[in-house]
């Protein structure tokens, strides 16, 4: 499978998980003691740790708008623009930069047929378990929310209004497990 396919499937999973969470019905978060896993069949999965940075030194585009982070006259972050109305303006997340670190994100398929105060036996299904890392560290994460007349900042007639900026620094506690499973008609 190409990286593109894997990426899209990964996005699909994230989207699926996101939508399930939005429904507020089909996903649960609860901390499990490690000992609970002793009764779980189908052990497997992976444990991920590491850090991810976006445009720490700048991006690959060098033009009148984008440049190196050492060039204060230009923006070195990434940019996302999307258009909600045909021939309308563009919503923009601009100058996206920062670094995330985490330790102990787990991913596995789990069969729940016991526990959870007796609810597990009634549930009796397989789920995708995303074990959340205890801490996600944000290091100089920032972006701007803006509106723009064009998709690219180098397009003719480009105008942009920066509405507000967001900066994040510090630790976010994420404990427990995210259980994702399908419901309804596929």
């Amino acid at each position: 499978m190409t990286r593109f396919l894997r990426t899209v499937i990964g996005h699909a999973m994230a989207l699926s998980a996101g939508l399930v969470l939005v429904s507020g019905v089909h996903a649960e978060m609860s901390r499990l003691e490690d000992g609970d896993l002793a009764s779980v069949s189908g052990q497997g999965g992976i444990y991920l740790s590491g850090d991810v940075s976006i445009n720490e030194l700048g991006g690959p585009v060098q033009n009148s708008y984008f440049g190196s982070c050492s060039d204060t006259a230009k923006k070195c972050g990434a940019r996302l623009a999307y258009q909600l109305k045909e021939n309308g303006g563009w919503m923009v997340l601009d100058d996206i930069r920062g670094k995330f670190s985490f330790e102990g994100l787990t991913l596995k398929v789990r069969d729940i047929d016991s526990g959870f105060g007796g609810d597990g036996e009634l549930f009796n299904r397989d789920v995708l378990e995303i074990g959340l890392p205890n801490i996600v560290r944000f290091d100089s994460v920032e972006f701007k929310v803006a509106t723009s007349s064009t998709a690219r900042p180098t397009d003719p007639g480009f105008q942009q209004t920066d509405i507000f900026s967001i900066q994040m620094q510090g630790d976010v506690m994420l404990e427990g497990n995210l259980l994702v499973f399908p419901t309804g008609s596929p």
Binding site: F4, P60, K108, R152
Partner: protein, 800 residues
């Protein structure tokens, strides 16, 4: 087998060995009885010179009444059509009655123009030719390993100017400029227990193949240069290597079917071997190969396959072995990916309720549109157990419990580009799949060695594009053309259709120690996958292994993305991923991340530590993959990048969801770009694509406990404690709050990935919501992502 039959077989075999080492001397030599030779001493010897030309319309072999015909048999000159091959043979008899033969054969071709099976009119397997000059000696002494009734052979020869080719329908592929040196001393031949025993304590040699050439000109036949243009024929590359083997072989009468046929049992030890493939001088080298294998109960019959088609059948009882490759080098810098070991056992096994065996039934014909000549292999395989071990700078990971099975037809033709009937052919060796049903699965990972506890984590292979488990039906072809991006190499054209597939994205073990169970996982089920590749070149370059795609498009239609069981697990719905790339490339470079700072910055350990990072020295082995994926703008409904998720489908009469009856969200026409018309030709440029560098090492990783108390193995620790491997404990590890330096050296192994992905522009033309009755409504009229540079240092460890 009666004593008379055994004596006859012994004589035939000795005669056959003599003929093999002294090709075609039998036309002039009279056989000598042993008693005659015993009485001869002090002879000056005999020298024979001859120019040999032999032709035969057909040589037939019958097994239980079924025949195979080797047609248009010829021995003669390799360089002069209709000419003769020159032979010089010196025969001498020593005082111990041993027979000495010195021989010189020049410019000889042995050829079968065609191979046919009785009962299969109109089709054939194609022709084989073998050109060579050979000089050597053979000594045959009385007495084998078991006593005076056998023989002992000492042989050494050098073959030069060799050519071995396969030809179908006027197109041919051949090994050109073969040189082979072999010394086999003390080879014994005996008969015991109804079997011919062949003991080869030492077979040592080396070889080289100057080029592997392809011709689509029917006028060429074993020519290095095209006879029409004078140009050197395109080459797949060259080969060289050496070997030191010892073996024990038993040959018996009697096949799998009927009373006639042949049975072969063999044990071979690879004391040492090296294999090198070169592409324009750049090497892909498998060095320090050692191991052994055992062939048990291999039978040869002229018989029928499971569809009643006449065939030359090879059926196998079992094949087991253990092969180790000490270094895998690529490119010009002599760097190694690491060490590879594979142990395997092919034997009958039941997969998914169906029994599989190991058999190949050779038939004539190949692909039905390619012409009358070709090979069709009705094939079934059953790999019941294999372990694949990869070691990077002494750190080992075992992909444990690999199983594979398959059943169906594989066709082989040498083809030339063009359309015949409804089939498009390309220049090269066409490997076709005709209703082939196949699959594989892995049980889990073992870290360290094969005795370590079974763990999850096979999904880490997804980073390399390999599913942990996959079963499917497949039709289509892969055609391997000669010549790469420049000079030697491969050019691949392929059309593959996968049906009714199940691909695991995450998988649990199929055997947790108490017998096989249905494998749980996250499955791309009810999978139909069409994949097309045009002009993809594969080369070994100075950097490593380079793949450049000309044009590639595919549609991956996942009928149900299921969790749990692959057939009955809950479904997230249908996902369709369409892919269209032009000018994408990938390079595999030996060596991983090397020395790096994780979690900080700095060019050495001190600077890294000062920045709060951790300095890691991951060694000189490992793998780095450099990818460039250029997603092209849509040119049709089948050649575009798009993603569709469909749910709430109506159920059909069989209770299964019917595609295109539900609600969909569609991300349509996704493509990369350089951010505008940089070169001013009026068209937005698209050359940068998404560029991704992945450096992968097997390395020690920090794994912390996520909650207080005992874990699944009953090992007690507190939240935040590190796992430290400790063979002296029952579980093989313990938890440590503050690891010492010695503890840190015993951190668990996992995959360490240094990654960087960057793109200038990625666009989505529109995002639609589609109602089965109301049609499509556009939710987003375009999205554009620009100037992304994402870097990551990740460690992935199997969960215990």
């Amino acid at each position: 087998m009666t004593n008379r039959e055994i004596r006859f077989m012994q004589s035939v075999f000795a005669y056959g060995v003599l003929v093999a080492w002294l090709p075609m001397a039998q036309a002039e030599m009279q056989s000598l009885a042993e008693s005659d030779m015993a009485a001869i001493s002090g002879q000056g010897g005999i020298t024979m010179e001859m120019d040999l030309g032999v032709t035969a319309d057909s040589i037939s072999y019958f097994d239980d009444g079924n025949g195979i015909y080797l047609e248009n048999f010829r021995i003669g000159s390799a360089s002069t059509p209709g000419g003769e091959a020159h032979h010089v043979i010196k025969l001498d008899i020593d005082e111990d009655a041993s027979l000495n033969l010195d021989y010189l054969v020049e410019d000889r071709r042995i050829e079968f123009g065609d191979i046919r099976l009785a009962g299969a009119p109109g089709v054939s397997m194609g022709g084989i030719f073998f050109d060579h000059s050979v000089e050597g000696g053979l000594k045959i002494s009385p007495g084998g390993a078991l006593g005076g009734n056998g023989f002992t052979f000492d042989s050494a020869f050098t073959m030069t100017g060799g050519r071995l080719g396969y030809r179908t329908n006027g197109n041919e592929v051949f090994l050109d400029d073969i040189t082979l040196d072999v010394e086999a001393l003390g080879v014994t031949l005996d008969v015991s227990g109804g079997a011919v025993l062949l003991e080869a304590p030492s077979v040592v040699g080396s070889y080289s193949v100057g080029a592997i050439r392809y011709s689509n000109n029917p006028l060429n036949h074993g020519n290095s240069n095209d006879v029409t243009t004078g140009q050197l024929l395109a080459s797949y590359g060259s080969l060289s290597g050496d070997f030191d083997l010892s073996s024990h072989t038993e040959i018996r009468a009697g096949g799998r079917d009927g009373v006639q046929g042949l049975r072969v049992d063999n044990q071979t030890t690879i004391n040492s071997a090296n294999f090198i493939y070169r592409d324009d001088g750049n090497a892909l080298a498998l060095l320090g190969i050692t191991g052994s294998y055992v062939i048990n109960d291999l039978r040869l019959d002229i018989t029928q396959d499971w569809q009643g088609r006449n065939a030359l059948g090879f059926t196998l009882g079992s094949l087991s072995g253990d092969i180790n490759i000490n270094r895998i080098e690529m490119g010009g810098n002599g760097k190694s990916i690491g060490q590879l070991n594979v142990s395997f056992l092919f034997e009958d096994h039941v997969f998914n309720g169906r029994s599989y065996t190991n058999a190949v039934y050779l038939q004539g014909g190949g692909h039905q549109d390619a012409g009358t000549q070709g090979l069709r292999l009705a094939t079934e395989w059953s790999l019941s157990q294999a372990d694949l071990s990869y070691t990077d700078n002494g750190n080992g990971v075992v992909f444990s419990g690999l199983q594979s099975w398959g059943h169906g037809d594989v066709t082989i033709n040498v083809t030339r580009a063009g359309n015949i009937g409804t089939t498009e052919f390309f220049d090269g060796i066409r490997i076709g799949f005709d209703d082939l049903e196949a699959g594989y699965r892995m049980n889990g990972l073992r870290v360290g060695d094969e005795d370590a506890p079974l763990q999850g984590g096979t999904e880490l292979l997804l980073a390399m594009g390999v599913y942990p488990a996959y079963d499917f039906k497949v039709d289509g072809h892969i055609t391997l053309g000669a010549g790469g991006a420049s000079g030697e190499g491969l050019t691949i054209n392929s059309d593959i259709q996968i049906r009714d597939g199940h691909a695991a994205l995450i998988s649990a073990p199929y055997d947790e120690g108490t017998g096989e169970i249905p494998q749980k996982g996250l499955w791309a089920s009810d999978l139909n996958y069409d994949i097309h590749v045009r002009d993809m070149t594969v080369d070994v370059t100075d950097d490593g292994f380079a793949v450049i795609k000309g044009e590639a498009w595919s549609t991956m239609d996942i009928g149900n993305l299921r969790i749990g069981d692959k057939d009955s697990g809950g479904s997230f719905g249908r996902f369709v991923v369409q892919n269209y790339e032009k000018g994408s490339s990938m390079t595999i470079v030996p060596g991983g991340a090397g020395n790096l700072c994780v979690g900080g910055s700095g060019a050495d350990a001190i600077a890294c530590g000062a920045s709060g990072g951790r300095w890691e020295m991951r060694g000189d082995e490992g793998i780095t993959i450099k990818m460039k994926q250029v997603f092209a703008k849509a040119v049709s409904d089948t050649r575009k990048n798009a993603f569709t998720w469909e749910t709430n489908r109506e159920l059909g009469g069989d209770g299964q969801p019917v595609n295109d009856t539900g609600m969909k969200v569609v991300l349509n026409d996704i493509y990369t770009g350089d951010g505008g018309d940089i070169d001013g030709d009026g068209i937005d440029d698209n050359t940068f694509g998404i560029q991704t560098d992945l450096s992968v090492d097997v390395y020690q990783t920090r794994v912390v406990k996520k909650s207080d108390g005992p874990d699944s193995a009953g090992v007690v620790g507190n939240r935040g404690d590190e796992i430290i491997m400790d063979a002296s404990t029952a579980a093989g590890y313990r938890y440590v709050a503050s690891p010492t330096s010695a503890d840190i050296d015993s951190r668990p192994l996992g995959f360490a990935v240094q990654a960087r992905a960057q793109f200038k522009e990625l666009s989505i033309n529109n995002v639609d919501l589609v109602h089965p009755v109301g049609g499509a409504q556009t939710a987003i009229y375009g999205a554009k992502l620009q100037n992304f540079d994402i870097r990551a240092n990740l460690t992935a460890t199997p969960i215990q």
